[in-house]
Subunit: 212 residues, 2 copies
Amino acid sequence: MTEIVLTTFDWVPEAPRGYVRDLRVRCALEEAKLPYSGKTTPFRARSEEHLACQPFAQVPWITNGATSIFESGAILLYLGGLSATLMPIEPAKRINVIEWLFAALNSVEMPSVPWSLFKFTNDETDTPGRRALDGFLNARLERMENVLKHREWLAESFSIADIAMSDVMRLVDRFDGVAEFPAIRAYVERATARPSFAKAYADQVAHFAARD
Amino acid sequence: MTEIVLTTFDWVPEAPRGYVRDLRVRCALEEAKLPYSGKTTPFRARSEEHLACQPFAQVPWITNGATSIFESGAILLYLGGLSATLMPIEPAKRINVIEWLFAALNSVEMPSVPWSLFKFTNDETDTPGRRALDGFLNARLERMENVLKHREWLAESFSIADIAMSDVMRLVDRFDGVAEFPAIRAYVERATARPSFAKAYADQVAHFAARD
């Protein structure tokens, strides 16, 4: 049997530590207890070899034998196919997990990461575009609050969709953006209380700190 | 055999016409020559029935017999599984299509739609957050330009990944954001020259105009 190899940066600055996208993949691997090893690619000097594996010069990507996959969403879906712990096998249940995975990455993260850029840069300038962006994120959070009031996890049980959605919400929470959404905050707390998250988070932080 | 039913709004204002997300689903259905019929949900009064099918009160969703799917990315993936015209069957090729599908929806559309909100509102205020957002989009476009210089379609042949990516880029092009990226512009032109796009676009525009 081949072994999964996860590639991330050799080092990143302090600010993104604990938020680099390999975290989502680590969570899935820990949750499913899939053995894996780590490799690194330089953060400062991004090479042609890096681009060949990840066309945006980002991380992570994984390999499993001859298979190489970039985009954390695609990696989560692939790992979901390897473990019923991450994604059920029954087609209707699988579709439900997949639609929520896309919801996290396309409907919610589309406003949340750009919104976080304004927060990161301490930019509170009130402009029409900014109001539109804040309104976009708020509309998504209101709907998610409504959804999460009535369920523990997005699908029937914890899945790759929750790994993605809770991590998306965790960044919003970092900038106090879920203060008015108690069900979202409780969901983030439930997800980050899982041993798989604790291990993945500690591993990522230790990995980047070791190269300081 | 069950029939696919695509639900979109009954009407939308002029501005988003030709850009509502059911377009991507229509493109896939036309490309694969999958028969389908249309249903509508009110744009102005969004009901509990609507939320039960699409938790963000957005469109589209599809049904196929007892299966109901929201998120256009999840729908594209589902339709890809129904037709080798949209997604190859061989696992390695399928992974390649799926990673590019996520790239379109998570890596590129994440900055492009928020960027378009600033364009829509004619907001050109130069602030730190705005510079970060513009830089984020530009970094993605530069990498995509590099990718598209060397290939006709993202994977080995036209696929659901191209339906998503070309539509993401089409919105950027609407606000003249790909002027400096000739390979991206040529890619959008190739994709929108396909009969499936022409039919899907005309159908969407006619659908919304019919309810004016």
